[in-house]
């Protein structure tokens, strides 16, 4: 059964979309990741214009982050003050990002930039995850599973010499507000151009750069992601008219259900094995995208319709 997507202007099988939403939702439930960085390339592979894929995926992430944040707020795992600082940066970054997006669209380079950003981020994230989980597996085998001690928080680094220091009670930190704002700006730009929540950048940055306790990291990042992706959705809808609500809703339905099963399946599998699986998948998507960029196209010329009569 096909459905015609009003904004993507494309006729797609409805079960394919539900299945994709379900599969990515399953993975995001299992691994605890947002899934935007897998869904956007998949949408591009089935023929959704990259611009529509990015903007629509931002809309879907609003929904998936909300359900996550509700759960984390109940457990008091959200640092709202830190979240607000990240958010100020996120709003600035995503607004600039959407502006950059429109400018690149005018130049005819937006599709390339979207795909290149994906290749760069998927290869680095996938590569790091692969190496790290492989090491963990090998270490567990040789040392019989004895854990490696965590490094103490370093209070003498450059990041503690910055001005505008602020106290964050939930995170038990006294650091410069410039740090979370800068992280927010970078993640905001990525969100606008790639249609991702940006958790895969923000979570490591919060742990290693800010030194936040891991318990509040996920909830706080989800809190920021809701507002930043909402900002991206509204701005993309206003400036580029590329948000397809029908597509977003279909992905959402599959995603919500998939995430529930994924979370249960995740509990039965071992952490390192899970992560190495995810890493392989991320690298696979990355290789496919990179291959399409490098291989000589069938036709060197392409067409886009401007307005006017």
């Amino acid at each position: 059964m096909n459905i015609y997507l009003p904004i993507a202007e494309l006729s797609v099988n409805i079960f394919l979309l539900l299945g994709m939403g379900g599969a990515v939702g399953f993975l995001s439930g299992m691994f605890g990741v947002g899934g935007g960085f897998l869904m956007t390339p998949l949408l591009i592979f089935i023929g959704v214009p990259p611009m529509v894929a990015v903007a629509t995926e931002a809309n879907q992430i609003v929904a998936s982050s909300v359900s996550g944040v509700v759960a984390h707020t109940r457990r008091k795992n959200v640092d709202f003050k830190m979240g607000s600082m990240l958010l100020i940066g996120g709003v600035v970054g995503s607004t600039g990002g959407v502006w950059l997006f429109s400018a690149l669209k005018e130049l005819g380079q937006i599709d390339l930039v979207i795909k290149l950003s994906y290749v760069i981020f998927l290869s680095s994230v996938g590569g790091l995850m692969f190496v790290e989980s492989l090491r963990a597996i090998l270490r567990n085998r040789s040392a019989g599973g004895n854990g490696v001690g965590h490094k103490r928080k370093d209070h003498s680094g450059w990041q503690h010499k910055l001005p505008f220091k602020m106290r964050f009670r939930r995170s038990k930190l006294y650091i410069s507000a410039l740090l979370p704002i800068t992280i927010g700006v970078i993640v905001g730009i990525l969100s606008a151009i790639m249609g991702v929540g940006g958790g895969f950048i923000m979570v490591p940055a919060m742990i290693y750069l800010l030194g936040m306790p891991t318990s509040v990291v996920v909830g706080t990042s989800l809190f920021q992601i809701i507002f930043v992706t909402a900002n991206v959705t509204i701005l993309q809808a206003t400036t580029n008219q590329t948000v397809d609500v029908v597509l977003a809703l279909l992905l959402l339905i599959g995603g919500v259900i998939g995430a529930q099963f994924g979370a249960r399946a995740g509990m039965k599998l071992q952490g390192e094995q899970l992560r190495i699986l995810l890493a392989i998948m991320v690298l696979g998507v990355c290789i496919k995208l990179a291959f399409d960029l490098v291989v000589t196209p069938d036709d060197l010329f392409n067409l886009s319709t401007g307005g006017g009569h």
Partner: protein, 251 residues
């Protein structure tokens, strides 16, 4: 587009005044359905044209979509990846172009007539948009051929003329296939009756391609009230996300 339409109307009037036996030469045609509606289940559509000719002669039917400016970009390898580089814009290019004829157009009329009436994609005139006026003729030709090739690959231009079938002496029919990616707008269907290398009569019928129902409502809303649309999209997502967290809470 308007110019072309009024020219064609003028042409019909000239025919009306110059041919004394108009009723005898007349060609009339009608579409089985003048509205191609794009709804939720749209996967493309067939359009059937029926017509009648009063005298023997060949029939050519053209279907032209609304004209737009088309930008053709050439990709080049930059640091190993293929990126868009040079571009040429063509104005007044039909977004959709299909043709059916009872015989090969080159057998029916002279090349100049085919060029004037644009009887087939290869006879379409290329108009450079103001920003591309300075390019050389060779470049223009290369990019124009690329545009035709891309349009054909997308199913928006005819790769070869369909057959106009005669049913008896007077009646004829032509079948057109509209793919699922057709652009919306007002299309014009031109019917030409040709005899002895001359167009002896013609008719123009409009055809509307439009999104209907929910599809149309969403598309219009997204374009006319884009800010409210964005806000609503976010609200829908918020409600959906919150509902999901409530539904699955107990499990």
């Amino acid at each position: 587009m308007k110019l072309r339409l009024s020219l064609s109307i003028l042409m019909c009037q000239i025919f009306a005044f110059t041919s004394p036996a108009l009723a005898l030469n007349e060609v009339v045609a009608a579409l089985d359905n003048p509205l191609v509606s794009i709804d939720t289940g749209f996967t493309g559509s067939k359009v059937l044209l029926f017509g009648s000719r009063e005298v023997e002669g060949d029939v050519v039917v053209l279907v032209r979509g609304p004209s737009h400016t088309e930008v053709v970009r050439k990709q080049e390898r930059i640091f190993g990846v293929w990126a868009n580089n040079d571009q040429v814009s063509f104005s007044d290019t039909p977004s959709f172009y299909n043709i059916a004829s009872s015989d090969d157009v080159s057998n029916l009329v002279s090349a100049s007539t085919a060029q004037r009436l644009e009887l087939g994609p290869e006879y379409l005139n290329a108009y450079l948009a103001p920003e591309s006026k300075s390019i050389s003729n060779d470049t223009k030709e290369t990019f124009w051929q690329a545009l035709l090739r891309n349009k054909k690959n997308n199913g928006l231009y005819a790769t070869k003329a369909a057959k106009v079938k005669f049913l008896g002496k007077h009646l004829f029919r032509a079948d057109f296939i509209f793919p699922s990616n057709i652009p919306v707008g007002t299309y014009l269907v031109y019917v030409y009756l040709i005899k002895d290398k001359k167009v002896i009569n013609s008719q123009i019928t409009p055809l509307y391609v439009s999104k209907i129902g929910v599809e149309a409502a969403i598309y219009d809303f997204a374009n006319r009230h884009s800010f409210s649309y964005g806000v609503l999209a976010v609200i829908i997502a918020l409600i959906a996300g919150w509902t999901a967290s409530v539904v699955f809470r107990k499990k």
